[in-house]
């Protein structure tokens, strides 16, 4: 694996794991602990501290640390001075990086062990600071700062979630306290009733006195009945299952809610042991733990346990209980409440799953951008060198191999982005037949499944994002392959169809390409069919449930439709409908590798030196004169100057994103004001930004994705310049 690729992958890995640490817990201190340890560990920092300031607090205080204990942070000198610095950082909302040889270093670095070289402080909104100390200043480069700045935005959202959760928990505590008080009152009424009965039985001779007591008792009993009714109403309507057991754990009271929770009538539960309902997998372990608590006569709270519902499914309960003791302090049983948290658990798992993917997607986009810039330089230089070599020479073959390897690296970026599911399609008019065959063959590499193609001749063209549609085909072929573990044949068919009123399809009338993928696998049960495109629905034991969901989403973004037919034991067929394109095939799609040369002045804007360097070489080789700009502002100034001098640029190539400065999206708006007929090409490695998909709407004439080969650059410029008024 190439060293450059490895380095980028490492950075991506670190970003991913740091992003995952964020939001792993809803407890603020716990989350901060996880985050600072992950950042320090993964970025090879020497020490790290997270400082936090609550709503009403004036100063920041250390809330989590790695490599130093909080109590040791608190005794360091210069904390109040550091707090002043934090407040200045807050005002600017920008990171601070100070190296050892700078005069203010000691004001930012309060911990001194002799190895400190750099201090990096990153603000998180106005509530927290990530304070990192590095023993090597080489680590703290632009990439690391960008990575941590991106994480800080995510962290600020997670802090809000933790604070909101804390407020909810406080509210629940208040409510539970109130419920507890209500229970105590009820118990008091019950014991007063017993006392009255005892007095009643005591003596006939005290009848008069007793009558007088009973008069009082009648009032008490009325109150008692009201209270009991109130308790019953609570027990029935609360949604939580209230119970009592004896000292051996047998249910002696059980609210009817148990029917909703476990499916049993309350009288079926009475007399049973609490552990009779535990899931067999954890019954012995939980039983042991519960009796440990019984032994100590302790109260317990939020004890999570899995139980088996009467109909066989698993129910996750959160159990809280308090011991009931007699006058001598002996345990007579437990009283408590069970809450069904099965749905909540599922939701939490789904949120976590979604968060993992979102984290990766978010970071993959950023890394892919840098990665593709580097690849642009590699691929550009290779294609340029090939121009100087004859095809029959051995060097030409070697260079072609290197070019292929670079394109494989480009595919690697795409693989990383698969996780993110994101991205508007960057559509081009193309013929789909070859792509279906290639994607299918690739997905079946090493498989014992055969494939039978039936691709109609004269297949209409389609306007698609080749990468995304290739992903769709791969997903469906992989599913088909997995459905036939013993081998078999997959039939792949592509044909032209016209959708009219006679077809009951949720599509507009018109011309479509219909792709059908049919397997001879185990099939999908009827009850699963409506759910197969839902995110996270999977019948595979270890599937992520995202393959078909992303397939559906991609087809929808192409204004197409996907449907499925299946029968258990018969096999499954997926049908995809994609609108046919009226456009003619674009030049770039020609099977030719011929170089399209041109002439005139081109302005190339990019913030990366390597892209400017190699781009300049490619443009010169294609016959163009080239000038360079590093951001939008510089590009606009150069464009104006050239226009005024009577030697205008024929076309401008603008990088979509320029960190910390004006990028292509903003620049094109201003260039149009300078020259309404400006011919601009937007260029980017990867972006979720809709500009790349819908470039014309934003004022661009063409799009080119990095990395690009010289042939591609030549063709794009040719198309743009032939319409330029300056040619």
């Amino acid at each position: 694996m190439e060293k450059q690729n490895t380095s980028i992958i490492q950075k991506l890995g670190v970003s991913y794991e740091c992003a995952l640490a964020i939001g792993n817990s809803l407890d603020l201190a716990e989350m901060f602990h996880e985050v600072i340890h992950t950042i320090v560990h993964k970025t090879n920092a020497h020490r790290g501290i997270i400082w936090f300031r609550g709503e009403k607090e004036k100063d920041f205080r250390p809330i989590a640390s790695a490599g130093i204990r909080i109590k040791d942070v608190l005794v360091q000198k210069g904390i109040s001075s550091l707090n002043k610095r934090f407040k200045q950082i807050l005002k600017r909302q920008q990171f601070v990086l100070v190296n050892k040889d700078e005069k203010d270093f000691l004001r930012y670095c309060t911990i001194l062990t002799g190895k400190e070289e750099s201090v990096l402080i990153i603000p998180i909104k106005n509530i927290a600071m990530i304070h990192l100390i590095y023993a090597s200043r080489e680590i703290v480069n632009k990439g690391l700062v960008n990575l941590l700045s991106a994480l800080s935005q995510k962290l600020s959202v997670a802090i809000d979630a933790c604070l909101a959760h804390k407020r909810v928990v406080e509210e629940i505590c208040v409510r539970e306290k109130a419920e507890e008080q209500l229970k105590k009152k009820t118990e008091q009424f019950i014991s007063s009733q017993k006392e009255i009965k005892r007095l009643f039985a005591e003596s006939e001779e005290s009848r008069k006195a007793l009558l007088s007591i009973l008069e009082d008792a009648t009032e008490t009993q009325n109150a008692l009945q009201k209270s009991e009714k109130r308790f019953r109403d609570v027990a029935v309507n609360t949604g939580d299952w209230i119970w009592e057991t004896d000292e051996k754990g047998r249910y002696t009271y059980c609210s009817p809610v148990v029917k909703q929770v476990l499916g049993y009538e309350y009288n079926e539960v009475l007399g049973k042991y609490f552990y009779d309902f535990f899931h067999p997998d954890e019954r012995e372990e939980l039983k042991k733990a519960a009796f440990e608590v019984f032994k100590k006569k302790e109260a317990f709270k939020n004890f999570i346990n899995q139980n088996v519902h009467k109909n066989g499914h698993t129910v996750i309960l959160e159990t809280s209980g308090i011991p009931m003791l007699d006058d001598k302090g002996n345990l007579v049983g437990y009283r408590g409440v069970d809450r069904d948290i099965t749905e909540r658990r599922k939701m939490e798992e789904e949120v976590l799953k979604a968060q993992k993917l979102e984290s990766l997607g978010f970071l993959a986009g950023g890394i892919a951008h840098d990665f593709n810039n580097i690849l642009t330089a590699i691929l550009g230089n290779i294609s340029l060198v090939k121009m100087y070599v004859k095809p029959e020479e051995e060097v030409f073959e070697i260079l072609t191999e290197a070019e292929k390897a670079s394109l494989r690296a480009k595919d690697l970026t795409q693989q990383l982005l698969i996780f993110s599911r994101g991205g508007e399609p960057i559509k081009k008019t193309t013929s789909i037949g070859r792509m279906i065959k290639d994607s299918t063959s690739l997905a079946l590499t090493g498989s014992n499944v055969r494939c039978k193609f039936s691709i109609a001749e004269g297949l209409w063209l389609v306007n698609i994002d080749e990468g995304q549609i290739s992903q769709v085909i791969s997903n469906l072929i992989i599913n088909a392959n997995q459905a036939m573990p013993e081998g078999g044949t997959i039939e792949v068919k592509a044909e032209n169809i016209i959708v009219g009123k006679e077809q009951i399809l949720p599509l507009q009338d018109g011309k479509y390409i219909k792709i059908s993928i049919k397997d001879q696998g185990i099939g999908i049960p009827k009850e699963h069919l409506p759910k197969i495109f839902d995110p996270y629905f999977t019948t595979k034991q270890k599937g992520s449930g995202l393959g078909l969901a992303s397939t559906y989403s991609i087809i929808k973004k192409h204004d197409g439709y996907i449907t499925v037919e299946s029968g258990v034991g018969v096999g499954t067929t997926f049908h995809i409908y994609l609108p046919a394109s009226e456009e003619k095939i674009t030049i770039s799609e020609r099977e030719t590798e011929e170089l399209t040369k041109g002439e005139g002045k081109i302005l190339l804007m990019d913030d990366e030196d390597i892209v400017l360097k190699v781009g300049g070489r490619l443009l010169k080789h294609l016959g163009y004169e080239v000038e360079f700009a590093r951001d939008g502002t510089e590009a606009i100034a150069l464009y104006k100057k050239a226009k005024e001098s009577g030697q205008p640029f024929y076309a401008v190539i603008l990088d979509l994103i320029v960190p910390g400065s004006m990028g292509g999206k903003e620049a094109i708006k201003k260039l149009i004001k300078v020259d309404s007929e400006v011919k601009a090409i937007v260029s980017s490695g990867y972006s979720n930004d809709p500009v790349m998909a819908d470039y014309r709407k934003y004022g661009f004439s063409e799009v080119i994705t990095k990395p690009y080969k010289i042939e591609e650059l030549g063709q794009v410029l040719y198309r743009v310049i032939k319409e330029s008024k300056y040619k």
Partner: protein
């Protein structure tokens, strides 16, 4: 740091007494013993001798020991320390409280020597605690005791106990310079450790772990990977955990279970990103030399003199992978550590190390070299 280092073949009980006496001479402050697993070591018989010692004695059983640049499957390496030390014994890592006795680490402590049970779980909390309480330029070196053949035997000992599942840590008031390296190269990834329980890797990219791993390794080696030949084939393809600074921390795959899970040499966090790496003998040998050079340079720069002794903690799986060429690895270390430097140490199950300027790391498949005088 090291007053003297001696080797004894350990064949007879009667040889232990003079061996220990020799080590304890000249005001030694403590004796560290590395026992090779094929040595006839009977703790019950040796304990009375250890109890008689007036200084701390502790050690472990290892797959093999290294003395004077050679590997021994039988025998004992004894290392007498000359600086003040304090010892902390954790009998069970699974019950580790997260704190040490108050005066275990003093302001004069410069290095920690760690021996842990290589098969024990819960090592990361110990490492995290050591990292929290470390100060100044403290360095860390250590490794896992144990055998690849038996996971349950007792393998750590002090004058009072012979036990499994724990760790013994010595805080030493002297400097040891550290070098760490492995030399394994990534060939596939990144992949996500999507389901992990401690050292059991259950799924990779949401697919059964073994199925995924098998596919990659079979493509690379052309050998059909099964549960039976797993250790033998997988020893050349460990997993690597990613760090930011072009660094990869390895995890060794040890065996596959009936549920297609892979048992690893040390824990990996769930959802961490992994690479699958590959070993090339010469690169491993060169990496070991680089580790020796790193530690020697650090030592000479701090102490302004040449080192005399080098403690080598080398993963057992490197020796299995390199086979006959493991000798070249030791030679490579010898060349870079300096001609007059005595090489001694052991083959380990997991290595613990830190150069003192970043997180303490639990390594697999690495070589850690501690150079002192």
């Amino acid at each position: 740091m090291f007053q003297k280092v001696k080797f004894y073949d350990g064949k007879e009980l009667k040889g232990w007494q003079p061996f220990l006496d020799e080590l304890s001479k000249d005001s030694a402050t403590g004796i560290l013993l590395f026992v090779a697993e094929e040595t006839p070591f009977d703790y019950k018989q040796i304990q009375p001798l250890l109890k008689e010692m007036k200084i701390e004695v502790w050690g472990g059983i290892f797959p093999a020991v290294i003395y004077d640049g050679s590997l021994h499957k039988q025998g004992v390496v004894g290392c007498a320390l000359k600086s003040p030390i304090s010892i902390e014994v954790i009998k069970s890592l699974s019950k580790f409280s997260g704190s040490f006795t108050e005066d275990f680490i003093s302001k004069n402590t410069e290095s920690l020597l760690i021996l842990n049970d290589g098969w024990a779980d819960n090592i990361p909390p110990l490492i995290e605690t050591l990292y929290e309480i470390s100060h100044k330029e403290m360095t860390f070196i250590g490794g896992g005791a144990g055998s690849l053949k038996n996971m349950t035997d007792h393998r750590l000992f002090t004058r009072n106990d012979f036990f499994a599942g724990g760790a013994i840590i010595a805080a030493v008031e002297d400097y040891i310079a550290i070098g760490i390296n492995h030399g394994w190269q990534p060939i596939h990834g990144p992949v996500i450790a999507s389901n992990v329980s401690g050292r059991i890797l259950k799924s990779i990219n949401w697919e059964p772990a073994f199925k995924y791993y098998k596919n990659i390794v079979e493509k690379d080696t052309g050998i059909k990977l099964t549960a039976d030949n797993f250790l033998e084939v997988a020893e050349s393809h460990p997993f690597g955990l990613l760090k930011y600074d072009n660094e990869i921390i390895l995890r060794v795959p040890i065996r596959v279970d009936a549920e297609n899970n892979i048992l690893l040499g040390s824990e990996v966090p769930e959802n961490s990103m992994l690479m699958i790496t590959k070993g090339y003998p010469q690169k491993l040998i060169d990496a070991a030399g680089m580790a020796a050079e790193q530690s020697r340079t650090a030592f000479e720069s701090k102490k302004k003199k040449s080192p005399t002794k080098a403690l080598i903690i080398d993963c057992i799986t490197r020796a299995l992978f390199l086979e006959d060429r493991f000798e070249d690895e030791l030679k490579s270390i010898e060349e870079k550590a300096g001609d007059s430097t005595l090489l001694f140490g052991f083959l380990s199950l997991g290595e613990v190390a830190s150069t003192g300027d970043k997180y303490i790391e639990l390594h697999n498949k690495a070589v850690v070299i501690g150079i002192g005088e």
